[in-house]
């Protein structure tokens, strides 16, 4: 049973994170110019598209009387057709994401949250519905949803490696998976195939720390996973480097291939790189995916 007071304290503590995260995410999102969102044809949407003369079959309720009163013909105000997509985010919150090889670098989880929030804000502005995979946050629109997402993103999992959760994923929706994909790849495969089955396509963004790419270790070392469940001892870390990099490259190739098979897009982002570039790529990828 969770004691109210600690819970409150933790909530306060966590909530303290939110404004900065939100602010940073807003800031990052503000840097991205919104592109063409409309479908360039009339349809359901918020934005004005055109007035056209009433045609037979138009419901009278559609007549725009303000425009029609200016002339003898009756007009129907058409709005631009806008389709609200459901974009589901999965942000890996497992222990492995809480790694930063250097004090100057953000944790991978931090970068993942930042990107997720930023893209959520952008998508929200674009009128899409954003939610988190799982049952907690089904896709919705609005500022409140952003706050809720930020709130939920602050949850941390104690598992070493996370696996995508496909529950609550609407069919033909979009999905964004942010993780380091260091753990077992089978759940990812399962998730992606089931997503493909449901007509969901999306983006797989692998976030890696530079140290994970470079493996700058030497000498006798015991490597431990962040959660401490896995350990590997070597007498000569420098000898492992090549083989580790090989395996990493394999893992990346596997992910890329998986994406290619399921129609997803794959990108590898390093926490030392600019978050903005990653956000741009992510946005384009989602937008492109929507267009496709």
């Amino acid at each position: 049973m969770i004691q109210p007071l600690p819970l409150r304290a933790r909530a306060e503590h966590e909530a303290a994170w939110l404004p900065p995260l939100l602010a940073r995410a807003e800031h990052l999102a503000g840097a991205v110019l919104l592109g063409e969102h409309g479908r360039r044809r009339s349809g359901l949407g918020d934005d004005f598209w055109q007035y056209r003369p009433v045609q037979p079959g138009d419901s009278r309720r559609w007549i725009d009387h303000r425009r029609s009163a200016k002339s003898d013909t009756q007009f129907v105000k058409q709005r631009e057709w806008q389709i609200a997509q459901s974009v589901m985010l999965w942000v890996d919150n497992a222990a492995s994401m809480r790694f930063a090889s250097d004090k100057t670098l953000p944790e991978k989880a931090d970068r993942a949250r930042l990107l997720a929030m930023s893209i959520a804000i952008l998508l929200n502005r674009a009128g899409e519905r954003v939610g988190l995979t799982g049952t907690a946050l089904p896709p919705r629109r609005g500022e409140a949803q952003i706050t809720r997402i930020a709130d939920t993103l602050m949850n941390e999992d104690s598992d070493d490696y996370g696996s995508p959760d496909m529950r609550g994923m609407p069919s033909h929706g979009r999905a964004i998976f942010l993780s380091d994909f260091m753990g077992d790849i089978a759940p990812v495969q399962t998730a992606l195939t089931s997503a493909a089955d449901r007509g969901v396509n999306g983006v797989l963004m692998q976030i890696l720390d530079p140290a994970e790419e470079a493996f700058p270790y030497r000498g006798r070392t015991i490597f431990q996973s962040m959660g401490g469940t896995l350990a590997h001892e070597t007498l000569k870390a420098s000898d492992l480097r090549d083989r580790y990099l090989e395996r990493l490259a394999e893992r990346k190739a596997e992910l890329a291939q998986l994406c290619a098979l399921t129609g997803w897009r794959y990108h590898c982002h390093h926490s030392s790189d600019s978050a903005q570039a990653a956000l741009l790529w992510l946005y384009r990828a989602i937008e492109g995916g929507v267009d496709a």
Partner: protein, 915 residues
């Protein structure tokens, strides 16, 4: 075991060095401690196997560092010793005999010899070997004693100023006894007879090794007078390369202080053992020379004393008849001048003018009578050692001088008229001289046959006549008579000084006789026969290191031994004074040649500088520690754990800055911007604390009562602190405080001269008056002796200190002694009309000395409570108040100088203002 210059105390430990390669392998095999790293990518690593089971190798240089550290430890523990003492010499319980030449030639190296000797003695002490020391200059029977006993006598074994004579060497050889012993011979490097015999005797009794300085000995032969110049010759033992030396000629300056009057450079040409140079000095300077010394050579051989042989005597010539102008050859003084000019300085003039010049001799040629005053002066001059030489002549013969009564200035009574023999108007042949008797100063001079006497004054027969005759004619009539007066003498030649009455002035004998009478300077040393029967008193002796020493009560030396006997304890080199002259016996005579000793091939000869035995173990262990700490840093760096911050911290810890010096500087710097009172740190914590509290109390009092607002007082260390920033220094005297160094005294003196003031407080006015009676007073005298302190007087009633702020007549502290001493007023200080005080000295007294323990009366804690009781009740508080007032006055006096004293001018100023 010895490797090169390094020996090992525990050489078997070096075997461990063989383990180093094994250690190398082991160290390489043992993996370094694993580093634990959090790494998400570990999932990818699972299942990867290490290629080989060998761990990542420690870098070779780190291994090398560790190996070096271990090697340093091993070698360090093996007890390495640099320049170990040779252990191969005969050891064990063989007694050790140390033979010291102990001559003047050893004096230069005596310090080195003594150090080496001390080492040998302590070594022998460690080995419990009995030691005997044999000094060849004064051989005694061998006494084998413990080394410690000798060590305590070491400083008394210094060299003598003479050389061991052959007889003393023989004596030493005879004194050796029959036991066996090892001999170490400290040689002075000079060859001398008898060495060989002694060496053989020593070798019969054990091994002999010789310790000898390789430095060449240079000596100075006595200076001789050649044609008015001084010829100075230096000799050396071995004819090496060219060498320049300098000879300093020392004499007394006009005020009597010995000074170097001239320095003469000498050059030994390569291959020459002798260097000669002429030193030309004015006779006046030359007469003052007392010694010559080779600069930088501190031994008796490099010193020669000058005696009368270098001095030109001053002779005054006075003739009775000066009327026969133009007839040079008939002048009574002509022949005297000719005889004396080469060796003496001649004076002319009236007797009263000459006597104050104090000539060595005065010649009166045919002068009959002197004025009474002149006679008295003359007598006094003779009493002091003057030589009065009188010649007869017609005037003397005709006068009544010394006719019936013996004249004070005549050796004998004279008959009237004299006699003439062998002349044209007389019978008989001119008389010749009889051989000189043994008691005559002329004894030994050969008499040329052509010396004849044709006229003379005749001596009256007297009981004393026989004693006074020093030369006579063949018929027994006296020709030269002499009388001693005090230290001087009167000599009468019964003939004229020219050739009128005799041919004596024409002969060489005349010159020799003058020399014998010490009228002209004897340029050559007298022979032993000349001096027979006389006793010569040593005045100064030369010690082995070339310094002069008062002879003290050394016994006199018989004249016959003075010249030719070898120098020794009974005849020490130095200056001897005899009846008429002084003679210097120098270590080196004109005939001395220096030859270096050649030792047989089987005698090992070593220098005196034995490289000090230096244990290296500690250094090596320290080196190992350094290696290990470098290893720590390197290991940290290698494993990536040496963060810059950590490295900086370690460095900072290593290079910990000395904080104290900084604090000290701060203290002084603070004192530059404020008025700060200071007290001398005595080393007695209680006194220092009290002084600090006392000055704090005074500071507070000043702060509250006056416009002087001093900062907190400080204690000063006289040795290290700058004093100039303090207006006043309080110096409490304790009997056991250290005497400041010369540097500190120099600082104190410049402080006093620059207007600083020191308040000395003996703090004992309760038990003693001011003076050396108490321990503190004695200490004060000792402390203040080197200080530049003007004459002092007890503080007069009208001293400026009594009115610089408060009007005071008493200066009590915790005690109320009356005497406080300040700089004495100048004698011309006078009271000005209408003012109650004098116009005193224009400066601040540099010292105030008293014993009233002011600091205890002033002492105050931080809250202003007095720390020490003063007196009783209200009177005591009054006394404390007066103590504070004295302190205020004192500081005011220091800060304002004589400003209060200027009030003495007030009447004059008022007058000038027209009031």
């Amino acid at each position: 075991m010895t490797i090169g210059p390094i020996g090992f105390a525990a050489p078997w430990l070096l075997v461990a060095l063989a383990l180093l390669p094994i250690l190398w392998l082991i160290l390489r095999a043992v993996p370094p401690a694993p580093v634990r790293r959090l790494f998400p990518g570990v999932a990818l690593l699972i299942g990867l196997k290490d290629d080989d089971s060998v761990t990542d190798r420690t870098p070779w240089w780190l291994m090398l560092l560790r190996m070096l550290a271990v090697a340093a430890v091993i070698i360090g523990l093996a007890g390495p010793v640099l320049n170990p003492e040779d252990k191969n010499q005969a050891r064990g319980d063989t007694p050790l005999l140390i033979v010291l030449d102990g001559s003047w030639a050893s004096a230069r190296d005596w310090t080195a010899q003594r150090d080496l000797l001390g080492d040998m003695l302590s070594e022998a002490g460690r080995e419990s070997r009995p030691v005997a020391i044999l000094r060849l200059t004064s051989p005694e029977a061998l006494q084998f004693q413990s080394a410690e006993a000798w060590r305590s006598r070491l400083s008394g074994l210094g060299p003598d100023a003479w050389e061991p004579s052959p007889t003393s060497l023989d004596l030493a050889a005879a004194l050796l006894g029959d036991d066996r012993f090892e001999t170490r011979w400290f040689s002075d490097g000079l060859a001398r007879d008898g060495r060989k015999v002694l060496l053989e005797a020593l070798q019969d009794r054990g091994t002999v090794s010789v310790y000898e300085s390789p430095r060449a000995t240079i000596a100075l032969t006595p200076a001789t007078l050649v044609e008015g110049n001084l010829q100075i010759t230096a000799i050396r033992v071995t004819a090496g390369g060219a060498r320049d030396i300098q000879v300093a000629a020392t004499g007394r300056d006009p005020s009597g202080v010995p000074r170097i009057l001239a320095v003469l450079p000498l050059t030994f040409e390569a291959g020459q053992t002798e260097a000669t140079e002429m030193l030309s000095l004015p006779p006046e300077l030359r007469a003052r020379l007392t010694q010559f010394q080779i600069v930088g050579q501190d031994h008796a051989g490099a010193v020669t004393l000058s005696d009368d042989t270098l001095k030109r005597r001053e002779v005054a010539l006075i003739a009775g008849r000066e009327d026969r102008e133009g007839l040079e050859l008939l002048s009574p003084l002509h022949y005297l001048e000719q005889a004396l000019i080469p060796t003496a300085d001649l004076l002319g003039g009236g007797l009263t003018d000459i006597l104050p010049a104090n000539p060595d001799a005065i010649v009166l040629a045919d002068v009959a009578t002197l004025a009474d005053g002149e006679t008295a002066q003359m007598l006094e001059w003779i009493q002091r050692g003057g030589v009065l030489l009188r010649f007869a002549g017609p005037r003397l013969a005709a006068s009544d001088v010394s006719r019936t009564e013996e004249d004070a200035l005549m050796p004998v009574r004279l008959r009237a008229g004299g006699r003439s023999v062998g002349g044209a108007m007389s019978w008989g042949e001119p008389k010749e001289l009889a051989p000189f008797s043994e008691t005559s100063p002329f004894f030994g001079l050969s008499i040329p046959p052509d010396v004849t006497v044709s006229a003379q004054v005749m001596a009256q027969p007297d009981p004393t006549l026989a004693d006074r005759v020093v030369a006579q004619l063949t018929d027994g009539t006296p020709l030269v008579t002499r009388k001693r007066i005090g230290q001087g003498q009167v000599v009468l030649f019964h003939v004229t000084a020219n050739a009128e009455w005799s041919t004596l002035p024409l002969s060489g004998l005349f010159v020799q006789m003058l020399e014998r009478l010490a009228v002209s300077a004897a340029t050559t040393l007298p022979t032993a026969e000349d001096l027979a029967g006389t006793t010569w008193q040593p005045i100064k002796t030369v010690s082995a290191d070339g310094s002069l020493r008062d002879a003290g009560n050394l016994p006199g030396v018989a004249g016959e031994r003075l010249i030719d006997d070898p120098l020794g304890p009974e005849l020490q080199p130095g200056l001897y004074e005899g009846p008429e002259r002084s003679i210097a016996r120098n270590v080196i005579s004109a005939e001395t040649t220096l030859t270096s000793v050649t030792w047989p091939a089987d005698v090992p000869v070593t220098g005196l500088i034995r490289p000090a035995q230096q244990p290296l173990g500690g250094w090596l262990l320290a080196l190992a520690l350094i290696f290990l700490s470098v290893d720590v840093l390197a290991s940290l760096a290698l494993s990536g754990r040496l963060l810059p911050a950590r490295a900086a911290m370690i460095l900072a810890a290593v290079l910990l800055l000395p904080q104290e010096a900084q604090a000290q500087d701060d203290k002084i710097r603070a004192a530059t911007s404020e008025v700060v009172l200071a007290h001398v740190i005595t080393g007695d914590a209680q006194i220092d604390d009290t002084a600090q509290a006392g000055l704090f109390g005074l500071t507070q009092t000043m702060f509250f009562r006056t416009s002087v607002e001093p900062a907190d007082p400080v204690g000063v260390n006289l040795e290290t602190d700058e004093l100039a920033v303090f207006p006043m220094i309080y110096w409490p005297i304790t009997p056991d405080q250290p005497i400041p160094s010369d540097v500190a005294y120099a600082k104190l003196n410049s402080y006093l001269r620059a207007g600083g003031m020191i308040l000395f407080d003996t703090r004992d006015a309760n038990v003693s008056g001011f003076g050396a009676a108490s321990p503190n007073g004695a200490k004060l005298q000792q402390l203040a002796a080197p200080l530049d302190i003007p004459p002092l007087e007890p503080m007069p009633d009208d001293h400026v200190l009594t009115r610089t702020f408060y009007l005071l007549q008493d200066f009590p502290g915790r005690h109320s002694g009356r005497n406080v001493w300040v700089e004495a007023a100048p004698p011309d200080a006078e009271q000005i009309e209408g003012m109650p005080f004098r116009n005193l000295n224009d400066g601040v007294t540099p010292v105030v000395i008293g014993g009233n323990d002011w600091m205890s009366a002033w002492a105050m804690d931080a809250r202003g409570n007095p720390l020490f009781p003063v007196g009783r009740g209200f009177a005591g508080e009054r006394q404390r108040e007066l103590a504070y007032r004295f302190g205020v006055n004192l500081v005011m006096h220091v800060l304002t100088g004589n400003y209060k004293s200027d009030q003495v001018h007030v009447p004059a100023l008022l007058n000038r203002l027209g009031q």
